[in-house]
Symmetry: C2
């Protein structure tokens, strides 16, 4: 149906060496936190993307040897032939949906701490490893380099045996040995692998040639390369050596997968890089240098931008990691002209955080991400409704919106009642803070979808009492009334409530998000939440010219945001805005016009002058209405059959957690309880029968 | 043979409810980083302890439900019946060695972030979880408590089915729901589970009663209880509520396993708690209150202290976690009168760090720990020698000592040549620094063992040239020449060498450990290593009345030491000693009488006056002799057949890594290369065939 519509260029097949992609949608390699620990979950997650229309579905960085052991993180593994069956699960499923399967075999050099294998850590030059564990990598000698090349070639062979169509050589993100050889900062060798660019490129060239030699008849060989480190003259630059590398290797790989380095730059959040397509200025030269197909990324969710990038000769493939996570059906929606239905990535990096935490991937926009195998959730399909007909969802924040949408899709009659004048709850409130505008897409997408459905009635400005709910006569009620930030400073570090002493005033984050401003400065923000909100509020108030002190028991600002790759950017921004930062300090008292903060190690206190104190510590669940409805349910004559508390009202968390909770409530509604319960228990477990090959290996003692 | 020797009281059998322990040696539950991800490795590690004479071998905290999900950490799991076979591996092996198997079933409450399961987090009261992930636990309602009790009872039943003899109720370390209910700080309930001590104990009582009801005919029910939080009046105290709890429940459990809380207090390092048996003052009251057997811990390695504790009526069982890791054969060595052969725990908490890193357990003293299954290593047995006869080990640091010892045990003629006057290398040097005296045991144990063997010749003060080595005519050489700390400041944060500018002087950590002192203060210690050494040197110099500035790019002092549970103690101690701490600062230049340090976020610089700068950044491998020997090996007429570089000279790391490398070199010498290589690849992998029970669970979509 799409062959001649405005996006038809995106659906042309493209040849990549010996294989052909059915269209231009290319899911580049991305981590998932599933990997070798959860291969069935990984395979099903990738299958869904192939079903959603991607022409190429890649896996993630795949360790090729015990000297590249990223434990405890769950990337993929292809150490030996025993890993083939787990990877075959994915290739079979991806092929079954008509897509090509790509594998990013990788050696992580000194980024691999080898904490489980305890193998030597390898690098071009002696140096500390890229991990706090106090050990060092050793400079590879010639024998090491030969061994590494042999491992890489053998892994390519195993990758082909596992059914992959495209096999990577990977020099990106600052994370792999080939790139470590390429960059002068990590390579001070004086032999033929160090010094001149040609010498530093030598290893990459050898890997490409040997991979082609090993599998090139059957598989395409892709080269993933970071053209720019975004460090100016301190690092590789696209206009300098970045371009020179492409020139040196132009026709060697079958495909160029180009991006910027390091990972934080490649996976920039909307907060710090709001522009979709932000990598284009760096990579647009590549197609001028090579005749081979080029894929690039940069949060490409807009079909118009995609068409333009192809037509302007910038790329052959639309690369995507995060947009394919937020909407695995993005290609198919474009093909079918359902542009408004695309669930756009909000660029929050909760997906990245999952990988950094060593846990299964999740997504704020797509609550089914990572749950395809475990819970059998599909991003576009949901079971038809059961016996009940009418449902009421109270509260139109992220949990309520998602719950209402999925209930409606199941075919229930849905009434959505929101106390305020707008739909979106905390999503709207937070999206008005600096840098978080894109988060609004969580609400926009769901409100749009709800509006398309005939079985949904939405009421704003409708704060309901339990009695009013009872009078509606609706049997099944979902309460998503959210949570409020505490005003008393109680949180992780202290369970002792602060006492307010005028003229200092405590102001909650909610009051600020409601649009109020402190009556006076200096403002002291106390962050015992240690995630994003306090840092964003500090930025907001500093930009409004308040004098701001930021106090946190942590050693750095917003430590949890290391997981989203934003921590250093946040702390730098606050410093630039003149915020005074007090780390390793606990807020212990308020005394008139100052706050008392104490060193978390020594207890030593100092007073910080302030007029307004904003504690960002914990939230209080708003469950009063729920409690009343539960009581009402048990009274005679009521129509109420079920009442469920969901989202922040049940357990405050990330927006991603609220969306997930809303989704789950809708999925599980009228599902047999034992089925719903069982999904919590489903997991992949070690096989207990050692393979015979490893039995033979057992060293005699 | 031991029935009437001076330690015979330790080998009396003791009844625990329906089961009987063969002696008084009791390996209390401890984490291993193996657990549910590596059950075969876990089982074999525990079997070795049973073989070593422990009467009771416990596993580790065992999650009973998806609401107690500690992912990505690898504790054990007993969520449902599918977990039984993995645990059965351990009980079969432990029983095969004549020991009892104990299981610590646990619910971690708000300490379990449930990051993989995504289940609600449960706690007595609403609160942030004990993890930076920004989400909260919800206060359990009565239905939640009933459900939890049901899960616990069911888990006890599954534990019995898995073959365990002793089943725990666990309220310790600040880590579990029963203890969270017990402590007022985490329980502000107003129902019958909150308020009075009797109310706060209620849940524990119910769990004990229900566990006894479920399995008490067949299994002993142990109660692990932290009698004191070591926070003075801010927490539970042994003399107050701690004792009251024991009085309330005195005869209910079959065994009292008592310790102090939190984990850092229970597993105190020798650096901060040098006294073996340090828990005795807290737990000695327990046996006065209950007639049931009591087990306690506190780094109990001295047989005389053990006998005294039994004879004085303090304990019935000698509990051990770390001493059983350092020497799994401790009971047997005592029984056989081989006291001098005990490999005493040095209290460094590298074992604890492994668990905190989510990787398999390791031990500085016992390099076979965690390698029993994977590499088939036994702590007391090693394969006999191969064809070669003479070996030379150059360097008597931790790698050289261990390599020489194991080569000698295999039957090789061993010559050990040490350049300095003492044996121990960095172990001796570091053990002279404040708090690290116990680390010396790593050298002492090995030197003692070497001295017992007839096939070892040890030469000190013997710095050899390559030519001299060649003239020895020994065919097989192991070079363990160690590493030196860099003087130029190059490390993780910067690859640009510092330039020295008099009158400021750069002094290396080695110079200080050699016994030199700075010619003048202030002394600036620059810590880009971020592990223990810089903090210890700061303490050393501050105690010698130097004025000390501590500069680190990290946000806290010694961040890696969070893994050993020491970080906050280190930072507090430096503050108490008057050390000025500059965090998030990089050392960028030296200019005459000051150092320039720059904010790692903003780049903003300040000058810090100093006369001496001690950079603790990276080490340089001393491999010159090795390189010469490799060259010599290839010349005509040499007797040299093999030369291997080991320990810090090959790859600087922890002392534990050096010992491991020395051990491996000795094990692998004359082992078939394919066997030695294969041990790197051995691992436990997910089974790919989903069990039928979970297939049935798949939700229809």
């Amino acid at each position: 149906m799409a062959s001649n519509h405005q996006y038809s260029v995106l659906f042309e097949p493209v040849r990549i060496g010996p294989v052909t992609a059915r269209n231009r949608f290319y899911q580049v390699p991305h981590c998932s936190g599933l990997g070798h620990l959860r291969p069935q979950a990984e395979a099903e997650m990738r299958r869904i993307k192939a079903e959603g229309g991607w022409a190429v579905v890649s896996n993630q960085e795949t360790e090729i040897h015990p000297t590249s052991d990223l434990s405890p993180f769950a990337e993929h593994r292809l150490w030996d032939e025993r890993d083939i069956p787990a990877l075959r699960l994915m290739t079979d499923k991806v092929h079954g949906e008509g897509a090509l399967a790509a594998i990013e075999i990788a050696h992580s050099g000194h980024h691999a701490p080898n904490l489980s294998s305890r193998a030597p850590v390898l690098a071009p030059s002696d140096r500390a490893i890229d991990n706090l564990y106090p050990k060092q990598a050793r400079a590879m000698d010639k024998a090491d380099i030969r061994e590494f090349r042999r491992w890489h070639r053998a892994a390519a062979g195993r990758a082909r045996a596992a059914g992959f169509d495209i096999i990577y050589v990977y020099a990106g993100h600052g994370l792999t040995l080939p790139q470590h050889f390429l960059l002068p900062e990590t390579n001070d060798r004086t032999d033929e692998y160090g010094g001149s660019l040609e010498n530093r490129v030598r290893l990459i060239r050898e890997l490409l040639e040997e991979t082609i030699d090993e599998v090139g008849h059957d598989c395409a060989v892709a080269f993933r390369f970071a053209v720019d480190e975004m460090r100016g003259a301190d690092g590789m630059q696209a206009a300098e050596e970045g371009r020179a590398v492409v020139e040196l290797l132009a026709e060697l790989p079958d495909l160029w997968d180009v991006n910027v380095s390091d990972w934080a730059n490649d996976s920039a959040t909307t907060r710090f890089q709001p522009q979709d397509g932000y990598q284009t200025p760096y990579i647009e030269f590549v197609k001028q240098v090579t005749s081979k197909p080029v894929v690039a990324v940069g949060r490409l969710s807009s079909p118009d931008m995609m068409v333009s990038m192809v037509n302007r000769g910038i790329v052959d493939f639309i690369g995507a990691a995060r947009p394919s996570i937020a909407d695995p059906f993005l290609p198919r929606k474009i093909q079918e002209g359902r542009i408004d239905e695309i669930r756009e990535c909000i660029g929050c990096n909760v997906c990245v955080a999952s990988d950094n935490l060593g846990i299964p991937i999740r997504c704020t926009q797509n609550p089914t991400m990572g749950e395809e195998w475990r819970r059998g959730w599909h991003p576009e399909r949901i079971a038809a409704k059961g016996d009940a007909s009418e449902t009421l969802v109270i509260g139109a924040g992220p949990a309520g919106l998602e719950c209402a949408l999925q209930l409606a899709r199941r075919g229930y009659q849905v009434t959505l009642a929101e106390a305020t004048e707008t739909l979106g709850g905390r999503v709207l409130r937070e999206s008005r803070l600096p840098g978080l505008a894109a988060w609004r897409r969580v609400a926009d997408n769901r409100v749009y979808e709800l509006q398309q459905l005939g079985n949904v009635q939405i009421y704003t400005d409708s704060r309901l009492t339990a009695q009013e709910v009872g009078e509606l006569g609706i049997g099944n009620i979902f309460v998503a009334t959210g949570a409020s930030w505490r005003a008393d400073g109680v949180g992780r570090t202290s369970r002792n409530p602060l006492k307010e002493h005028t003229p200092s005033v405590i102001m909650t984050p909610d009051a600020i998000m409601d649009g109020n401003l402190p009556i006076g400065g200096p403002v002291l923000i106390y962050d015992d939440d240690q995630a994003y909100l306090a840092g964003v509020l500090a930025e907001y108030l500093a930009r409004k010219d308040y004098s701001v002190d930021f106090v946190t028991p942590a050693g750095i600002v917003s430590p949890w945001m290391e997981n989203t790759l934003e921590q250093s950017l946040i702390q730098r921004r606050l410093i630039e805005l003149g915020v005074r930062i007090h780390t390793s300090r606990e807020l212990t008292a308020i005394t008139g016009e100052s706050a008392v903060i104490a060193c978390v190690y020594s207890g030593q206190t100092v007073a910080v002058a302030c007029r307004t104190i904003v504690p960002v510590t914990e939230r209080l669940r708003r469950h009063g209405l729920f409690d009343q409805l539960v009581a009402l349910k048990d009274t005679a004559g009521t129509a109420i059959k079920t009442v469920e508390l969901i989202g922040d009202a049940a357990a405050p968390g990330l927006i991603a957690d609220a969306v997930f909770a809303g989704h789950m409530a809708a999925r599980n509604f009228e599902t047999a309880p034992e089925l719903a319960a069982a999904s919590w228990f489903r997991r992949e477990m070690p096989g207990l029968n050692e393979s015979s090959s490893s039995s033979e290996r057992k060293q005699s003692t």
